[in-house]
Symmetry: C2
Subunit: 396 residues, 2 copies
């Protein structure tokens, strides 16, 4: 099978590398070799061992019937969208790790692909190197999905792990993430929760068969989290993770991306550093979790390659969703228990149940609320100097 | 698609139930409804809602061309083997949760199925309800697998969890497992490690394309584990899990099923009660873990049903292995660090590095050895009253 790689960045060059490194196993599994015929990139890679494959105009790829599948690894939603669409119209399968593209244009591209008898596969778009789209779509969604919760952004998880394990400040942890290449100069998409939110929208679209518009999903980042949050969480037996979660109700989906408190001992509580995980619960299957490298050149490229093998074998997962929007319920109505921390000169004046104070944080009192909505919590806290309110993630 | 269920025990009746409960999602995913036409069981189920489907002779199913797929849920290796083989010869796909059947006769049944153009699928044979065979075979094995380690027996994991979390004795924990129906009257297959060993042999056979003969895999059970093991493990930052593990070397496989010490914080360390998990590490994918319900009527049945959907869609995983044996390296040569506990009236006399004593266990001293073989450890311990030697699981 001949393929073209669009965009020779981290993932694109990783795909070329994995196809070389694992050539034997890939040919064995796919029943044929998978070979790069073109690499499209505007930059000049004259020194690159793959240099003979480079082309600068997409028309060459578009017009070559020998190219059965294109790997879209340009990123973004503009050129990537244009090329993906044209590739499908030219009768080619599209494999992409581009969550922005799938979250924004999934319904249209999947419908177009179905019409043309080709496939759009995006295993690497959620959870990087974790093979999760396949079992999620193929097994979990054969069951009645009740809820999903994912640690879907490696950068945020690395920062929170540093803060938790080493007491590093948010600013210092972000700086080290940037130095290690985990975070970009503008880290907003990662630390603000927007990257994870798009991944959640893809999972929710797969689950419901409708488009989960990520602009309707409440998204909070980790920027305000401080080490005191971890100290008070630990005092109650919790840790803190950035989760992208959706609970499927008859009336709609309770979807939100935000920092959540997670009971220590929950399988997701040991997902640290840049690792990702997706937790899912379905009616008859029960709870499952998929864990692995959420990002990184070779893991992500490996997931892309597993889709190429699916295409070669014709054993791809069938998935599609319509442009109709999934109903996302208003986040203010979600009922959760919360850990509340207030600044208070006289702890004895706090009448809440089971309050905790920590010697290293004098003047602060924390407690766990009853299950209640944001509005109920807010009104219960009227008149207090509230330092932080953090939701507890619990399976319902 | 019409199917026949062979054996109406826990899994067989669960499959009938899941096909009913999830009928809508299944028909949507499979593109057609999946209907039970026959249920073969010698017992009488006159009161059962499915009673009209019951038959007592296999010939009826074997001779009915409308039955495209049989679910073998009889268990064991005798009748199950005979019926599975005859079903394949009659041109029917076989879906089974029967690890004993696949571990013992996988090579022959898979070859026969290939010859007849049908499929033998066994998602539920390892990890119960966890959809892991599919992504393991489809994605991880497209990469170069380096090692696997699994908590693959729910009964043993339940017993160890009780001992660890509640300080329950082995005998009491086993009794409660039997009362809860997790363990059989004769618990040997579970607590002795033989069930997990067969599951390991299936994973190793898939990985190598050869038969991993489980009789060549060193298998130790949890019968001798006591609460002191957990106390000393915790003192060094470890917990204890029954693992079925294989490391793939050029010279062969380091395969063993035994209790192992696992660093607290390792994702497998939070797999408790009857839950199962498979940890795998591959060259470019990195580390992944699949977690979920390792047993139970509905989770196991859900995995069987996901295979039925694979058959209906023709998107089943392709797998086969030959009768040729994988080389299993002699366990005595595996190099591991170990926690050693000796009974000793004078702790000061122990010259090992970083020894630990625990007030609640006077007269015992424990320490961590260097990486060494069983023989090296044994000779180093000559002359000491050795209470326990436990291997540490570490990724290499």
């Amino acid at each position: 099978m001949k393929i073209a790689i669009l965009g020779y960045g981290i993932v694109g060059s990783g795909v070329a590398e994995v196809l070389k490194v694992n050539a034997a196993q890939i040919a064995k599994k796919a029943g044929e070799s998978i070979e790069v015929k073109y690499i499209l990139d505007l930059k000049d890679f004259s020194g690159d061992p793959m240099k003979s494959f480079f082309v600068k105009n997409f028309e060459l790829i578009e017009g070559d019937p020998e190219v059965q599948t294109v790997v879209e690894s340009i990123g973004g939603e503009t050129i990537a969208y244009d090329f993906a669409k044209r590739a499908i119209l030219a009768g080619k399968n599209v494999v992409t790790p581009n969550k922005a593209l799938i979250a924004a244009h999934g319904a249209e591209l999947l419908a177009l692909a179905k019409e043309r008898g080709v496939h759009v596969l995006f295993e690497a778009s959620v959870g990087g190197g974790i093979p999760l789209i396949r079992p999620y779509n193929g097994a979990i969604l054969t069951d009645e999905l009740q809820e999903i919760a994912g640690i879907l952004n490696g950068t945020s998880n690395y920062i929170l792990t540093q803060m938790h394990q080493n007491g590093t400040s948010y600013a210092a942890a972000l700086k080290s993430a940037q130095e290690l290449g985990y975070a970009e100069a503008d880290p907003t998409a990662d630390v603000g929760g927007f990257d994870a939110c798009r991944k959640l929208s893809i999972l929710l679209s797969l689950a419901t068969g409708k488009t989960a518009d990520y602009t309707n999903i409440k998204t909070e980042g980790i920027e305000r989290i401080d080490t005191a949050d971890f100290a008070f969480a630990a005092a109650f037996g919790y840790t803190l993770k950035q989760l992208a979660t959706a609970k499927i109700r008859k009336e709609g989906a309770e979807a939100i991306t935000a920092p959540f408190l997670l009971k220590i001992g929950h399988p997701m509580s040991t997902v640290s550093d840049v690792y990702n995980a997706l937790w899912a619960q379905a009616k008859t299957t029960g709870s499952v979790m998929f864990y692995g490298s959420g990002a990184g050149k070779l893991p992500t490229a490996s997931a892309v390659v597993s889709n190429l093998v699916d295409v070669a074998l014709g054993t791809h997962a069938a998935h599609e969703w319509t442009k109709e929007n999934v109903k996302i319920l208003p986040a203010a109505e979600y009922v959760t228990r919360k850990i509340v921390r207030v600044s208070c000169s006289d702890p004895a004046a706090i009448t809440a149940k089971a309050t905790k104070t920590l010697p290293q944080y004098p003047g602060f009192v924390a407690w766990i609320t009853e299950p209640e909505t944001e509005a109920q919590t807010a009104s219960a806290l009227k008149g207090l100097k509230v330092e932080r309110v953090l939701r507890i993630y619990e399976t319902t």
